[in-house]
């Protein structure tokens, strides 16, 4: 930071050929206690209220300012670092310092007030900039932020997918789309993977063993629920279906590498809670719950 960044540029000046009487009126009208003396743009001295009092006591008011002003002026250069100016302040003890360029032209004036004001402004700019950077660095408002920002007795996002039965051609599409949607909502990758795998397994089950059904995901404040609901044929023995390696898969399903009897086991492993209800021939309702961990 340089002196020019904090100095005041609208400086009230007087000319050396003006009289002390002019100065008295000028200082009274402008309510100032001193002024730089400038000749053709160049700083030639400083005149203060003290000089005026001396002139008054000597009845010397008709004298030109040039004879009463201080010519040994402590001034600052506009391109000087601001820290230098603090040293100058403490060295001389004046309240204001004229600022000149390297050619000696008066370009401004600095008081302690200007310095404090300049520093505060700089701090404010830094502060605003830092805030802006933090906001930018912060991820897009995620769904969890959204939940914090809005109020209602109950809020949830629902994603619904229709799954065709008896074909594995498009199997995985719903789980893939859901995963992409949840990613956009800001769910962290490890949880995203668990939800993706469990939903994919459930989707495969709908596609391979049922007449088709629906996958419904509810994104809640506390976590995600994924339901897989089908319209039959239902599971006669859930305990047996849950046994690792047990499978009723048809040949076409096995040919594709499914039907290893691991799907439900894997769903249980991936989800925090799993509930499986089934009635023959009405259908099966699988509910998987996933909790946000952080």
């Amino acid at each position: 930071m340089t002196v020019s960044e904090v100095m005041a540029t609208d400086v009230l000046t007087v000319r050396p050929e003006q009289t002390m009487s002019d100065l008295r009126i000028f200082m009274r009208d402008k309510r100032i206690s001193g002024a730089p003396v400038v000749d053709n743009g160049k700083l030639v001295g400083m005149v203060s209220i003290e000089d005026l009092i001396n002139a008054l006591s000597e009845c010397d008011l008709d004298t030109q300012i040039r004879y009463k002003m201080t010519t040994k002026v402590a001034c600052l250069y506009a391109d000087e670092p601001l820290v230098n100016c603090i040293a100058t302040f403490s060295r001389h003890g004046y309240t204001r310092y004229p600022v000149v360029d390297r050619q000696g032209h008066l370009v401004g004036i600095v008081t302690k007030g200007n310095i404090v004001e300049g520093l505060l402004k700089k701090l404010e700019i830094e502060y605003v900039r830092t805030e802006a950077e933090i906001n930018e660095a912060r991820q897009r408002p995620t769904m969890r932020q959204f939940f914090e920002d809005v109020t209602a007795d109950d809020i949830s996002f629902i994603f619904k997918y229709h799954i065709a039965g008896q074909t594995l051609k498009d199997a995985g599409k719903a789980a893939t789309e859901l995963k992409h949607a949840l990613k956009k909502l800001g769910i962290c990758p490890p949880l995203l993977r668990r939800i993706g795998v469990a939903t994919y397994e459930a989707e495969i089950n709908l596609a391979a063993y049922t007449q088709g059904g629906e996958i419904i995901a509810h994104v809640e404040k506390w976590g995600v629920i994924v339901e897989a609901i089908d319209a039959g044929p239902g599971i006669p023995d859930i305990e047996l279906a849950m046994k690792p390696g047990y499978s009723t898969a048809s040949d076409w399903v096995r040919e594709l590498g499914f039907g290893a009897g691991m799907g439900l086991v894997n769903i249980q492993k991936c989800s925090d809670e799993m509930e499986l209800k089934s009635t023959v021939p009405d259908g099966t309702h699988l509910t998987m719950r996933f909790y946000y961990t952080s």
Partner: protein
């Protein structure tokens, strides 16, 4: 070891996602049961299989696998290629059999995905 290095070392044919070969291979898994892979592979695992249908892409995507190697020179189906490009899943083809390929991958320093 990165996918790129494996492609060079084992002369693999890159079928999809050629822009995503700088990924580190953290482990390997060989299986032709998709549920088995879903249950036991890890993020960053390289999967060796003979399946060429599009479900392998969904499996790789959901498990965030590093890539898939098809053995015995098997070529992925067209649907599989399209989907793999969409999901940026590298599919590589080796002319070797699964046993031969996995043996060499192991020798190159790739170890099995941690058993769960």
């Amino acid at each position: 070891m990165k996918l790129n290095d494996l492609v060079k070392e084992f002369g693999l044919e890159v079928k999809t996602a050629s822009g995503h070969l700088d990924r580190e291979v953290k482990s390997g898994y060989v299986s032709d049961l998709l549920s088995d892979v879903l249950a036991h592979a890890d993020e960053g695992t390289l999967w060796v299989t003979l399946h060429i249908h599009q479900n392998i892409v969904a499996v790789a995507m959901h498990k965030d696998l590093a890539g898939i190697i098809l053995v015995q020179g098997r070529q992925p189906e067209q649907d599989t290629i399209v989907k793999a490009e969409e999901e940026n899943i590298p599919i590589l083809v080796s002319s070797l059999s699964a046993f031969e390929l996995v043996g060499r991958l192991y020798k190159a320093g790739i170890r099995g995905a941690a058993a769960h």
